[in-house]
């Protein structure tokens, strides 16, 4: 067929790249049943998935005897925490809610300001707060469902309302980054004092999910700066500092966390001079988690430090900045933002690894969920599946939330643009 070129109608240049719209049916035919092999795979895996979903769904919604969770929800949350003092936990949440809300609101206002000046890498979506909290709201919903307590629901709602109020106030006031962080830290400190201070309950008597949170948050807050210092020390020009840091990192990366926990539980006491009071088991567990995690954080951060081009340091030196300022203002900010995914992965690990403290006798979430199956009402009824499923769900919501937040943070810092 010989069509002469000059007789053809000129094709109007499309303003946007052409897009194909597929109906669901076309999509399925193309992607699921494209070939003989595709069809077989689709059918086989479809059946497998359907079977699994059916079995799990049937168990969760029909067969499972959730009364073991319902009756033990307080045990799972706080374990050996004295019941007379539970009001302190609620009071702490009522302090934490608004201060964290305020921090989030103030940070959101700062981002919006950036977007208005046209220099934000990603313009923040409106009303994304609810979606961001999705996994946590799901967790709270499930916990309240199990608690079946009017009082707990009311108090949780109060925390939520105060949190939203704090958020709105934060958006209004819009403090600088440093002051926002200060407000949040003050809130956390105040919540801690509400629980422990004035004849309260020290963390050696915490348990359940509350202990899990303490170990995870405390572990992250302490292991992060310690790990950064180790990473910097490993690149120090002083041979002694370097050697100590390398030895530390290699030692702790070469030992299983369980071994570190055992050493923390049994050896810290010996290492202390006579007359010094031995720290509580919770403190020793926290120290072990921090020592262990810091070694990994150090190696992750070192990767980021190596990625900062030498020219950055030279430019800063040429401007007359001191070594300290070059590290804190130029090198670390760039190094840390490239290693956010690795860091968050490590923190998620830490969050889940807190379950290992059960082995030295602490009653955190996983330990409680095993112990309650030995209660007289539930013993030898195979209810461990229910309790483990519950614990897994709690860990998963926390880990998934952290993972999503890290992705957001990456996008916001414009990772990949450098």
């Amino acid at each position: 067929m010989a069509t002469r070129i000059d007789t053809l109608e000129p094709i109007p240049a499309p303003e946007r790249p052409p897009q194909r719209r597929l109906s669901p049916r076309e999509w399925a035919r193309e992607n699921l049943f494209g070939s003989w092999l595709d069809t077989v795979l689709t059918v086989v895996f479809g059946l497998v998935v359907a079977w699994l979903v059916y079995r799990l769904g049937k168990f969760v919604f029909v067969d499972a005897r959730w009364e073991i969770i319902e009756r033990n929800i307080t045990n799972l949350m706080v374990s050996r925490f004295p019941r007379d003092e539970l009001w302190r936990v609620w009071a702490a949440l009522l302090v934490l809610g608004p201060s964290l809300g305020f921090g989030a609101g103030s940070a959101a206002a700062a981002r919006r300001r950036e977007a208005e000046e046209g220099r934000a890498a990603v313009v923040p979506e409106r009303a994304s707060a609810l979606r961001r909290l999705g996994p946590l709201l799901l967790l709270v919903g499930v916990l309240l469902w199990f608690a079946q307590s009017f009082q707990a629901t009311l108090l949780t709602l109060a925390v939520g309302v105060l949190g939203v109020a704090g958020y709105l106030l934060g958006r209004r006031v819009a403090l600088s980054g440093r002051r926002t962080a200060l407000v949040v830290l003050l809130g956390i400190a105040a919540a801690y004092v509400v629980v422990t201070g004035f004849g309260g309950v020290g963390w050696e008597d915490w348990g359940g999910f509350m202990l899990t949170i303490l170990l995870a948050v405390g572990g992250i807050l302490l292991a992060f700066p310690f790990g950064v210092l180790l990473a910097l020390g490993r690149r120090s020009s002083l041979p002694v500092v370097r050697a100590v840091c390398v030895a530390y990192i290699e030692l702790f990366r070469g030992v299983p966390l369980i071994a570190v926990l055992f050493m923390g539980a049994f050896m810290i006491g010996f290492l202390l001079p006579a007359g010094v009071e031995r720290p509580s088991l919770v403190t020793r567990a926290l120290i072990a988690l921090v020592l262990f995690t810091a070694a990994y954080v150090a190696e992750i951060v070192r990767g980021g430090l190596q990625g900062v081009p030498a020219g950055q340091v030279e430019a800063a030196q040429a401007l007359g900045l001191s070594h300290f300022r070059i590290t804190t203002r130029i090198v670390l900010p760039q190094a840390l933002r490239t290693v956010i995914p690795g860091l968050v992965g490590q923190f998620i690990s830490l969050f889940k690894d807190t379950s290992l403290v059960a082995i030295i006798g602490l009653t955190e979430l996983l330990n409680v969920s095993r112990n309650i199956t030995a209660q007289p009402d539930f013993i030898a009824q195979g209810l461990i599946v229910e309790t483990l499923l519950f614990a897994a769900f709690v860990y998963w919501t926390g880990a998934y939330w952290m993972s999503r937040e890290s992705q957001r943070l990456e996008r916001r810092l414009g990772l990949g643009e450098r």
Partner: protein, 248 residues
């Protein structure tokens, strides 16, 4: 701070530098006067960059003396910082801080090193950004700018420390051709304003127009020094002639 001989701003005396077994600088002598613009050229690997990087101690020289505005460069950290405050530098790869806005790039050193307050630093920074003709980009991040704009920001950043000397290390070599001129124009204005400058460049048109003196280097040595007229029309040394015939 008195200068050693009259109007001298920078003196290099017998400066040598080795990288391992490779001798990058071989007994280099050079004196630069106040408000003088010296253009350094030569084949790659001839030690041009190494020489100017020794002046603000990005490289440590192994032999000889370097005196900047009456301060002799030594291993003393305070002494090095003092010299770096007086010497601005512009790099081939810009080396802007990508995590800071243009304005923060420019104000960082004045605020941290000169201890200016934010208002003063910002005001001065905007002055310098106007001088390099990009005040409207102050709130953007470096990677949102073109190469030429980035290099002009880098010049503003160096100027913000109010240095007495500016070093340019192949400042236009990484730029696309259409952006070279906007950077050279800024450098030319800076020269006319009386800044003491040492410029390593292959832009011979710029050298002819702006240089008070030309320095030709090869194999770690200064081969020939002269005025641009003499240098371009009637070079003495064989190696200079050869180099010029290759690039002109």
């Amino acid at each position: 701070m008195s200068t050693e001989n009259g109007k001298g701003m920078i003196q290099l005396e017998g400066v040598s530098k080795w990288f391992g077994d490779f001798q990058a600088l071989n007994a280099v002598d050079l004196a630069v006067d106040r408000q003088e613009v010296v253009v350094v050229c030569g084949p790659s690997g001839s030690g041009k960059s190494t020489m100017i990087r020794c002046i603000n101690r990005l490289e440590k020289h192994d032999q000889g003396r370097i005196v900047v505005d009456g301060i002799e460069l030594s291993d003393d950290l305070r002494n090095i910082q003092e010299i770096r405050r007086e010497v601005g530098m512009v790099f081939q790869q810009f080396n802007l801080f990508p995590h800071l806005t243009v304005l923060d790039n420019v104000t960082l050193a004045p605020r941290q090193v000169r201890r200016w307050n934010k208002a003063k630093a910002n005001e001065k920074a905007m002055e310098h950004l106007r001088r390099v003709r990009i005040p409207e980009q102050a709130h953007k991040y470096p990677l949102q700018l073109s190469g030429g704009q980035q290099q002009r920001v880098a010049i503003a950043r160096a100027l913000a420390m109010e240095p007495k000397i500016m070093l340019f290390d192949e400042a236009t070599s990484a730029l696309d051709p259409e952006m070279i001129k906007e950077v050279l124009d800024v450098m030319e204005e800076l020269a006319e304003s009386g800044m003491t400058m040492i410029v390593v460049t292959h832009e011979m048109g710029f050298a002819r127009a702006v240089a008070r003196r030309m320095v030709f280097m090869a194999e770690g040595e200064i081969v020939e020094v002269g005025t641009p007229e003499h240098f371009f029309t009637n070079p003495r040394e064989e190696r200079t002639k050869q180099f010029l015939s290759q690039i002109l």
